[in-house]
Symmetry: C2
Subunit: 276 residues, 2 copies
Amino acid sequence: MAGSELTNIKSPRVKAVRRLTKRAFRDRDRSFLAEGPQAVREALALEGVVVELFATAEAEQRHADIVAAATAAGLAVHRASGEVMAELAQTVTPQGLLAVCRFVHVPLDGAVTAGARLVAVLAHVRDPGNAGTVLRTADAAGADAVVFTDASVDPYNGKCVRASAGSLFHLPVTTGVPVAQAVQRLKDAGLRVLAADGAGKQTLDDVDLSGPTAWIFGNEAWGLPEEILRLADEVVRVPIHGRAESLNLATAAAVCLYASARSQRAGSPAPAPRLP
Amino acid sequence: MAGSELTNIKSPRVKAVRRLTKRAFRDRDRSFLAEGPQAVREALALEGVVVELFATAEAEQRHADIVAAATAAGLAVHRASGEVMAELAQTVTPQGLLAVCRFVHVPLDGAVTAGARLVAVLAHVRDPGNAGTVLRTADAAGADAVVFTDASVDPYNGKCVRASAGSLFHLPVTTGVPVAQAVQRLKDAGLRVLAADGAGKQTLDDVDLSGPTAWIFGNEAWGLPEEILRLADEVVRVPIHGRAESLNLATAAAVCLYASARSQRAGSPAPAPRLP
């Protein structure tokens, strides 16, 4: 333990951490907050990501392995009172562990590399919970990368980090990229770019998804704007068999990403090498 | 417009409506609240469901068609001040329309009928937003019914109604049923009962989903208890191809329900009969 327990919610140290709940301060410090044992454990698994750890006395006991890992990595572990933790954490029932982490995103070219087979692009996704859920689903579906365009929510928003359930630390994420630049890079890397939108003439069941594919997901309320639909190779909709008007963004993304994962793995067997 | 504008948030009428945000009062009155133009429109499309409508002056103008439909149906439409609407509505930015509706669920036998091909069962789903999202997704996937067991959240919870985006009014919903009774009924109706759980030995890609299928979805945090897994014909998991530990409940349900919808519609031909 570094020093004594932090008990004053007005102390400069507590205030400095609390500031990271705001995007402007995150961008200035290139740091963000990860809350709870799952996120903190995943962050610690990446070298050089966690800057410092805050833990309540109770969490120190319950998650002794995590605290030990942080200490072994030479990190400062600060004990925080329940009141301080409640001030720092953004959840109603904070689990007593919170890490200050360095930004983990990579440049577009590092995220989307030749050989990528499945990429999710979040264009105009504004709800951080939805964005985090798509990130988690993309990870589960085996995606190679997730791209947050410059019109989407900040991936380091607390709600997004929580909804990603650790996936922010699992696969290459890039952020702040203009959508046209992202699409160009995806095409250059050999991926077919599909825009998921209710306006699509083709449904998910009509298109061959066995090849390398990038999916663009749009805004919760109004989908994707015309200029993005034009950038894509195809506009594809999830079929609506019943009377619902549409799907929630995160569930639509799950259906699309898993359809790709299944098709790619369905053992469309690699073409046999041609004999000369 | 029936009478003058309601402006007093402490009036008995306003208090009586406000009470419907609590389950005990909903159950007593067999009534619930539907907020916003989309839900109110869908509720009005069903005869005898809407009891009365509350609208702000602004909403009356913006949604004149809805108010006219309610009036034509002989319903009382009360004008409410912005303050009264804020008191009645559960959203931060209420859209100025709110209907008191009669319960719409049906008995188990009425929901799950012979010939049903796709049914979603919510067992131990506690988060109303997740439950509403699964209801919306089941509707979109063309499900014949949705069953809320007695251990799940109330489908008339305001968050569930909102997340369902009108789907609560689209397909037969039953609620308060013990899970064993639901499973028996599903089996009697000829459906194969699959429990969606990370503990499943088989993945979604391993099972034949072309026949009539019911999916049981469990709790957000801990999945399904052993006794429910034993009731099911099979326990099936969504494959995790990446490093995520699991999927969010609503996204997992979307992947399962759409996998069924696709298989049932793909007309996967029955296996050729074996010659003796």
